[in-house]
Structure formats: structure tokens, C-alpha cells
């Protein structure tokens, strides 16, 4: 009887005792296991392509009173861009000339305001425990599916060497938490246009965006740990559960739906930007209480 710590060796035909395949992407499964990874590649790929294009474009991210989440908070406005935001809307006004001059001139695109901020939501999603599962399976094939042979690695290290950086997820979370406040602030600003209170479809789109992102961010595994999961005891000396327990239970409810919020918020943040792009370009009109949209600048 073999009792070694290593799994049984493969035969020359690539199978192990038990008839199991050993080569990458091989499996005995008969169901459509490829569908999940393919949908993930399509969904994440489409979002990365669209968001990259929009971040680099640096235009049509603002139509009063709506600011695209890809550009919020607007640190600087770049006067080189047409159809950007009014300079006055940026936190620090016009982009300093020194920054514009420092930008390599051989690059085919100008310095976009999105470059200052997208690292925060980007790193939060990139190190998210759910997305890690999604891209390890779909893009890196480790493994592509359950009981499907992974792409071979001579010395598998998991998240202990290069990928040890994933452990900084909680720092990305701190940034993402700040963005929830900023995006709600943008949504509230979208209740006023030209000094007049009102509401438009764009306002609702922005509120929905902030809410879905809040559902995603507050269901984060690191957040769940920090608010209570790190404790061994939720109760005090007389057995009364404290605030940490209530918060932890609420976060756990969101955490159980983390994947759904991850996809819903990803789609909606892209849709929000597209809505503002479409209104700014004049492709559609924003239905609102102020009358016709002002259009882009």
C-alpha cells in the first residue's frame, strides 16, 4: 500500500492510477465547466478595455452636474483636454504646468486626471478575495476549474512569494472606503445644477453607483475581519454580545453576496461613465427636472 506524502506519479500516457489526467486543462468532467471562466474573461476583459480607454481619453467625463466615477475625485483638470470638466470643479484647479511638462511627449495621450485616482479602486479590486479566485481561475488557470488540471508550475508558491502582495488588500480597502464617501458626495452634488435643486436620471445613476460600490466594499473579507472577525470572543463578561458582533453579522450578510455585488458594481460603474459620456456627447438627453442638459465642456 502506497502511503507517500506525494500524490501518485503519472503513467507515460499522462494519467495517474485512478485514470485521472494530469495535463493542463484536461478533466474527466462532462459539464460545461469552461463557461464560468469564459464569462469571467469576457466580463473583466471588457471592463478593463473600456475603463482603460476612458481613463486615457481624458474627455467627456463631466456634464453638469454629473461627474464620471472614473474621474472622481477630480484632483486636477487638464486644460489640454477639450470636453473635460470646468477647471473650477477640480479640487486643486488646473493641472500644474510642471506635471504636464514632465509627461513624456512621445506618448500618444495626454496626462489624464483619471491617472491620479484609478490606482485606488483598481488595487482594491485586483487584490479582492473574490476577484483573485476569478482571475486565478480564468486568466492564470490555477486551476481553470474544479478538478480540472491547472497550468503546470514546477514550484508552486501560491501567495507566498510574488503574490504575497495580495496581503495588502486591507490598505486598498482603506482607499476604497474613502471613495464611497466621495461618490456619495458626487451624487448629492448631482442634486443641484446652476444653483437650482433638482434631480435627473443621471443623479439616480450616480446614487445607484455609490450604493452598489458600498455594498461591495462593506462586504469585503478584510473589512469583515477588521470589524469583528479578528476577535475570538464577541461577548463581554456577562455574555452580552457587543457592537462588534452586530456589525460583523451585518458585514457577513454582505460578504455572503460579495460576488454579486462585485459584478453588479463593476457593471454599474462602467455604465455610469458611459451614461455621462453619452449625455456629454449628445448621443442621449438626460431626463431631469432642470430642463435640457447643458452638455459637455
Amino acid at each position: 500500500m502506497a502511503t507517500s506524502m506525494s500524490p501518485p506519479a503519472a503513467a507515460p500516457d499522462g494519467t495517474k492510477p485512478g485514470g485521472h489526467p494530469t495535463r493542463a486543462f484536461q478533466t474527466v468532467r462532462t459539464d460545461n465547466w469552461k463557461l464560468g471562466p469564459l464569462l469571467t474573461v469576457a466580463g473583466l476583459g471588457a471592463f478593463v478595455l473600456y475603463s482603460t480607454w476612458r481613463a486615457f481619453s481624458g474627455v467627456h467625463y463631466w456634464v453638469e452636474p454629473y461627474l464620471s466615477p472614473f474621474y472622481s475625485p477630480l484632483i486636477y483638470a487638464n486644460p489640454q483636454h477639450w470636453a473635460g470638466s470646468p477647471i473650477a470643479h477640480a479640487w486643486f484647479g488646473e493641472m500644474p504646468q510642471a506635471l504636464i511638462d514632465a509627461w513624456p511627449s512621445f506618448l500618444p495621450f495626454a496626462l489624464s486626471p483619471a491617472f491620479f485616482i484609478l490606482v485606488f479602486p483598481g488595487s482594491f479590486r485586483a487584490t479582492c478575495y473574490y476577484y483573485r479566485k476569478a482571475y486565478y481561475r480564468s486568466f492564470f488557470g490555477t486551476p481553470p476549474g474544479c478538478a480540472v488540471c491547472p497550468i503546470g508550475q514546477k514550484n508552486y508558491q501560491g501567495e507566498t512569494r510574488l503574490l504575497v502582495i495580495q496581503n495588502l488588500h486591507r490598505y486598498a480597502l482603506y482607499g476604497a472606503l474613502a471613495f464611497i464617501g466621495i461618490l456619495y458626495y458626487d451624487a448629492f452634488l448631482a442634486l443641484r445644477r446652476g444653483g437650482e435643486w433638482g434631480i435627473g436620471v443621471g443623479t439616480l445613476v450616480l446614487f445607484m453607483n455609490a450604493t452598489l460600490l458600498a455594498g461591495y466594499t462593506f462586504g469585503c473579507h478584510s473589512f469583515r475581519h477588521l470589524v469583528g472577525g479578528r476577535l475570538d470572543r464577541f461577548t463581554n463578561a456577562v455574555g452580552a454580545p457587543g457592537l462588534a458582533h452586530r456589525v460583523w453579522r451585518g458585514v457577513s450578510w454582505l460578504n455572503a453576496r460579495h460576488m454579486k455585488f462585485a459584478w453588479a458594481s463593476l457593471f454599474w460603474v462602467g455604465f455610469t461613465d458611459f451614461y455621462i459620456l453619452a449625455v456629454s456627447r449628445g448621443w442621449i438627453s438626460d431626463l431631469n427636472t432642470w430642463g435640457e442638459a447643458m452638455g459637455g465642456h
Partner: protein, 247 residues
């Protein structure tokens, strides 16, 4: 009653082959019933481990159409009427014979884990703990040790890392001790260094195959990884420990 086709792997640790069987299947039968019928009608020496036939003993783990499953809980009406059903032993463990695997790797892992080290008893001489504090641990106690999670975990199954990673079932056991309201042992260093928490890349297959629906990844492995982050990778936590003197 309908005629159904099976491909069952027959052999031992030296090798073997798939053997085809055809039997009549009646409504309500599960895969384990079919294996028993194959034994009765065609291959009385077909080796198969089973016990309760109720999804509670964890004995009849095997791979059915490539998926790690309990054969006693896999109903025949979940397959298409013309589908050939392929049955294999678990891939991760050495084959003893036919559908029986040598799962002693798991017992060795279990023996490595230090038992509960409770804090001193209260003034009334009792160990007291409250339901809110043991809810998490009780979820882990549902484990029936079928080892399907160990089988499907690619780190054990395909990455040749059994020396370095203890596997999902034992991450659960470690979590049940690490989160235990009475336990005083400091387990975080060995969870990282000895049991290999960093090798898990949280692809969640263990959770998907668990017949007890334990949230292995979300409720055990990721919380343990976060405790490892507290100890080793978070500079703010490090600073706080220095200031407060707490671990």
C-alpha cells in the same frame, strides 16, 4: 426501470483501466446503489468504501463524471438518460484498489494539530462560553471528514505540495481552534509556516464540493489568512502591538 452505462476504474496503485458495465436502474437510486448492483451482478470483487448511505459518514467519496462527490448523495436522475457515468477513486490520494483510496495523509495532518488549550476555569469552576462566540466554530463541526475538499484542492491534487500545505479540511480544524473563545494557544505562526496558509490561492473549489455546505474559504481560510496578515504583513497592526504590548 432503465438501462444505464457505467465506466468504473478498476486497478490498484500499480495501474489499471476503465471497465464498462451496464445495469438496470430504478427511480430513486443513487450512484452508490448502482455500484452495489454492479458488485452483485457483474463484479463482486469491485472495491468500494461505504458505510452510512446517508451522507453523514464521509466514507463513499469518489469522483463521478470527474467531480468529487459522495456517491450515496448523488442521485441517478441528475444525469441525462443516455449519459455514461464515469466513476473513479479520488485523485489526490494513493489508490488502494478500485474506488478505495488511502486517505492516511489526512490522519497525519490531524495529528500535527495541537489540541485545545483552554484558559483557566472561572471562579465557579466552569468553562463558560456563549452562543455568539461559538457560532463560527460550530459551523466547522459539521465536517464529516469525507476529504472531498482535500481531493479537489489543486494545491494537494496537482501542485505536488502535500509536504507544504495541510489542505482545506485542516485549515477548518485550525480555524475552529484559532477562533475558539476558550483557546489560549498562539497558532498564527504555524498556520503560516507549518500548515501553509499562503499556498491556498482561494479558488474555492473546496467550498463548492463540500457536502455539508461549510463556508470553508470565506469562513475559515480567509479569516485565517487575515489573522496572518495582522501578524506579519500589516505595519499598522505591528505598531499597535508594539504600543499595547498585545499579540
Amino acid at each position: 426501470m432503465s438501462e444505464r452505462h457505467f465506466r468504473v476504474w478498476r486497478g490498484d496503485s500499480e495501474g489499471g483501466e476503465f471497465v464498462d458495465y451496464t445495469i438496470d436502474v430504478e427511480p430513486g437510486m443513487v450512484v452508490l446503489d448502482c455500484i452495489h448492483r454492479i458488485q452483485a451482478q457483474h463484479a463482486e470483487d469491485l472495491a468500494c468504501r461505504w458505510n452510512c448511505k446517508a451522507g453523514k459518514c464521509g466514507s463513499c467519496s469518489m469522483e463521478i463524471n470527474g467531480k468529487p462527490k459522495l456517491s450515496c448523495m448523488t442521485r441517478m436522475n441528475t444525469f441525462g438518460p443516455d449519459e455514461t457515468i464515469t466513476i473513479q477513486p479520488m485523485k489526490t490520494f494513493p489508490v488502494v484498489r478500485d474506488l478505495v483510496s488511502d486517505v492516511s495523509f489526512n490522519y497525519r495532518q490531524n495529528a500535527r494539530i495541537r489540541p485545545l488549550k483552554p484558559r483557566p476555569r472561572g471562579k465557579d469552576g466552569e468553562h463558560r462560553m456563549y452562543q455568539e462566540d461559538v457560532d463560527r466554530v460550530q459551523e466547522f463541526r459539521k465536517c464529516i471528514e469525507c476529504f472531498l475538499c482535500q481531493d479537489v484542492c489543486h494545491v494537494l491534487r496537482d501542485q505536488d505540495a502535500m509536504e507544504r500545505f495541510t489542505g482545506p479540511r485542516f485549515m477548518i480544524r485550525l480555524a475552529s481552534l484559532e477562533m475558539h473563545p476558550l483557546d489560549t494557544d498562539d497558532r498564527v505562526p504555524e498556520i503560516r509556516d507549518e500548515f501553509g496558509s499562503g499556498l491556498c490561492n482561494i479558488t474555492r473549489c473546496c467550498t463548492e464540493v463540500c457536502p455539508e455546505h461549510i463556508g470553508i474559504t470565506d469562513n475559515a481560510i480567509i479569516p485565517l489568512k487575515e489573522r496572518v496578515v495582522d501578524r506579519y504583513y500589516d505595519p499598522l497592526m505591528w505598531l499597535m502591538r508594539k504600543i499595547t504590548g498585545r499579540k
